[in-house]
Amino acid sequence: MSIRERLSGNEAAAIAMKQINPDVVAAFPITPSTEIPQYFSSFVSNGDVDTEFVAVESEHSAMAATIGAEAAGGRAMTATSANGLSLMWEMVYIASSLRLPIVMSLVNRAVSGPLNIHNDHSDAMGVRDAGWIMLFSENNQEAYDNLIMAHRIAENKDVKLPLMVCQDGFITSHSIENIELIEDDKVKKFIGEYKPDEYLLNKDNPIAIGPLDLQSYLFEHKAQQAEAMKNAKKIILEVANEFEKMTGRKYSFFEEYKLEDSEIAIVCMNSTAGTTKFVVDSLREKGIKAGLLKLRVFRPFPAEEIAKALENVKAVAVLDKADSLNAAGGALFEDVTSAMYVNKKQVPMINYIYGIGGRDTKADDIKKVYEDLQKIAKTGNVEDPYRYLGLRR
């Protein structure tokens, strides 16, 4: 029997880590993810886990120590937010290039500056090309479930890539919700033992990793990373399938909420999907065919599948909780539009930058997006595709 609980998103992530029982956790506190290493430290202090907790002096060292631990042959995890991830940035790329299946809990927050501790996705977007698998979570349950699935995906022999599980700072990290936990023994069985082929602590087969890798080889090594990211798509679905058998909870690259027959649709990630579902329901009651594509797997980017899912929609709005400041649109918008174009799907599309620095995004804001979409669906014309939502003028 699964366990019914009431937990915050941070608690959910910490509980998942406790059940995973990694060999090493190295972390440095930063709002709003601080509670995760705090809760985890208490698990260590009370002997609930076998983990070595390394209370590093910075996030750069958090990722560097996590890399050292994973390379040595252990399962290593960390948690961070915003500037913590920015400080790690150099090591985030190195972790994936060394093909280390590290798992990180990223509690999304605005990257400075100016300083702001609230939620947006600028931290995650800053590492979108770093070669990490990136899973997004609408609520606490998904943050927990994604972490439970994480090692199975990351450690798969055809993948061997680090993975981060994102959830919205404060909105889910500090909100207490009902959650269904899986029993410890089931989690343990599901995740299994970590048995890397090659690792530093293998005395009988010493290896050297992290070379100077010049013109003759680096390109091929990067191509291998790209190949692993492609492989991850299949593995993500396989693991989701097994997870569904264990829990009854279904996961895929994205969730299609009343999308099948919809004429207007929103694409977004994390907690905003919850608000959007509420609006979709109210619009549907009025006979408006509104739908939602909630993206779970941002990296690898399921371009073809997204294009297929949106092909019959008359107008699409992509919501970006981070601005790319490129005078053209947010990162998710660019990825989705590119997916549509390459797959020859001609659907009018607009982009909204929203929720920056924790600006509250209410049902009325989302309703406004659907109203805009209705107009576009009628005419097929898009004026000014790069817009702001909820900005005070």
Binding site: D23, H60, S61, G68, A69, I94, L201, L212
Partner: protein, 319 residues
Amino acid sequence: MPYNLKQVVAEKPSRFTAGHRMCAGCGAPPVARMVLRALKPEDHAIISVATGCMEVSTFIYPYTSWTDSFIHTAFECAAANVSGAEAAYKALKRKGKIPEDQTTKFIAFGGDGGTYDIGLQSLSGAMERGHDMVYVCYDNGAYMNTGVQRSSATPKFADTTTSPAGKIIPGKMQARKDLTNIIANHHIPYVAQTIAVNNFKDLYEKSEKAIYTEGPAFLNVLAPCPRGWGYNTEDLMKINKLAVETCYWPLYEVIDGKYTINYKPKNKLPIEEFLKPQKRFKHMFKPGNEWMIEEFQKEVDKRWEELLNLEEITNKVQE
């Protein structure tokens, strides 16, 4: 084992193999070789090296000079990398996932750039956290890998590419950071200062102590650089010797807070002897620049006196 050069070399094959691309006359390769020779032959090591000359010249894909397990990631985090590996070792040992008879030692190497400067935070953190590891700094007194830029280890007045001896400013205008003492003030079990060549006994014995002292240990090794210092490659031994004989680079160790100066020259040589063979100090010998040598000498004397005092005080306190 007690140091005997012939015996050490005969019985302990080098764990850092030939074929690397370090310059002739460089002090760093003998440091790597001798530190690793201090390992017991049956013990395994995980070595982490900061980006720098030593890393880019010894591990160019697909070749490596390192026979032990080796990791390099970036410039500032050799200490953090190895602290993570050491934590994994503890956890896996506890879980019985590593053979009981396996002993793995954790050694990090970094130049002065990766140690005194960009990696100071990561080093300080690792030392404070008490990992069972050794951090070895091969101090060549500038960022040599990128082409001789000044570091906080660069001695005052040295001519580097970012502290050039010009018409107005005569080289680096700041005195050298005393990293050995900074790390000693972390109150870790073992800290020592030694040299790359010329006194292999000192380097070997300190390495052995550092590796086999439980907890964090730090070795600061003066490793001359022919390109950055501007000496003839065959003068490597001489330069290292003069650094010690002038008391520019005293050989000492700090064991549980107690300072021991391992060598006190009977006739402390004037600093000119050390400065003169090096092109980086050439401008100090121009007529009218005598004050620079005087000032340099004063700084050396002051630091030597301080060290003598530290030895006296710390031995008194603990008696």
